[in-house]
Amino acid sequence: MASPPVAARRAPGKGPRLGPWMSSWLVMAVVLVVALALGSRTVGGGSDQDRVRAVASTIKCPQCAGQSAASSDAPTAEAIRRDIADRLAKGQSPDRIRDFYASRYGEGILLNPARSGPAGLVWVLPVVAAVLAFAGLGFAFRRWQQAAPAELSAEDRRLVAAARRARLSVGEPDGEPVDPHGEGDGR
């Protein structure tokens, strides 16, 4: 007899229940979202020095190899830090300051790619890839769960029985007892 659909077996008046498997995924998703939200916070609070350092750390030192304007002692890096402090004091936003440097040195001066335009794909594509990957995994797990159990055909049963008979007639290696329960093919 075919089993009733899952929805029909639920108690009436009760919503769908999340199993432990689904709950753990949900918790993980929440943790991920919170971590990303905290990690992607824009420069905000903290002392003036912290704000200058935060902006300077996203701008390359033009004279140095692979160092930010925050970590370099080069005179130009110092000038950049002073300039950032002046601009922040005038009320300019970190994005506007970064735009200024990009307008003078090119986008390559920015250590973080721009969030808009073609460079914005650097931010978007990994998220899209992750969402697609998780969706794909979920789809695959669901299909595997819903897959019907394998049914043994008469031919399969006949083959298994023949194999068991052949094994019994040869005997088990290393002196182990043959068919210790005496069930033979009847099991």
């Binding site: 000038a79 300039d83 440097y101 040195y105």
Partner: protein, 190 residues
């Protein structure tokens, strides 16, 4: 002792690729464009001259607006920079040529150098154009200077038309100006 057979062949096999690589290297170095008068790309090319407060070495305020209607070559330099010292006679030549016609001028901006040393350098090597101090680095940042020598050619309308790196020659700047005079902004080849 008898020579080991095949060693000569091995040496030839090793020497041949090395010789080819060296020949290619010489070819590349011989045919590449000279280090001076390199017109390079910059986002500032095509933009208005940055509004930056400049001062002469004597501390007097100075504005590039005074060159409106004339070409001006803004040259970032330092006395500790060898290519800067090498281009100095060329800057003198260019400034002298255009002093007569009055259609172009040179302005130097000191890059990470001591004003007293710069004064001495000009006293010894000549050059009567304005030399500006940039102790706070504002001009360097406003123009997007990476390393000296760098020169920015500004047209009579106050638009930056070219960035020249690696030093300039008078003939090279004339050539760029002539090309720009034909119309259009020269954005350089990288």
């Amino acid at each position: 002792m008898r020579p080991v057979k095949g060693r000569g062949h091995l040496a030839a096999f090793v020497a041949a690729p090395v010789a080819v690589v060296l020949a290619l290297l010489i070819l590349v170095l011989a045919t590449r464009s000279p280090a001076s008068d390199r017109v390079t790309q910059s986002p500032i090319v095509g933009q208005a001259t940055p509004a930056v407060e400049l001062r002469t070495l004597d501390g007097k305020p100075f504005s590039l607006d005074r060159y409106e209607g004339r070409w001006v070559l803004v040259n970032f330099f330092a006395t500790w920079c060898t290519p800067c010292r090498q281009e100095h006679p060329e800057l003198r030549r260019f400034a002298a040529d255009h002093e007569r016609t009055g259609d172009a001028a040179v302005v130097s901006v000191v890059f990470e150098d001591d004003p007293a040393t710069v004064r001495r350098f000009f006293a010894e090597n000549g050059g009567s154009w304005p030399v500006l101090d940039d102790a706070d680095g504002k001009a360097v940042l406003a123009f997007g200077v990476v390393k000296v020598p760098e020169s920015y050619l500004i047209d009579p309308d106050g638009v930056v038309q070219a960035k020249i790196t690696g030093g300039v020659t008078a003939a090279g700047v004339e050539s760029v100006m002539a090309e720009l005079g034909a119309g259009g902004t020269r954005r350089g080849g990288g």
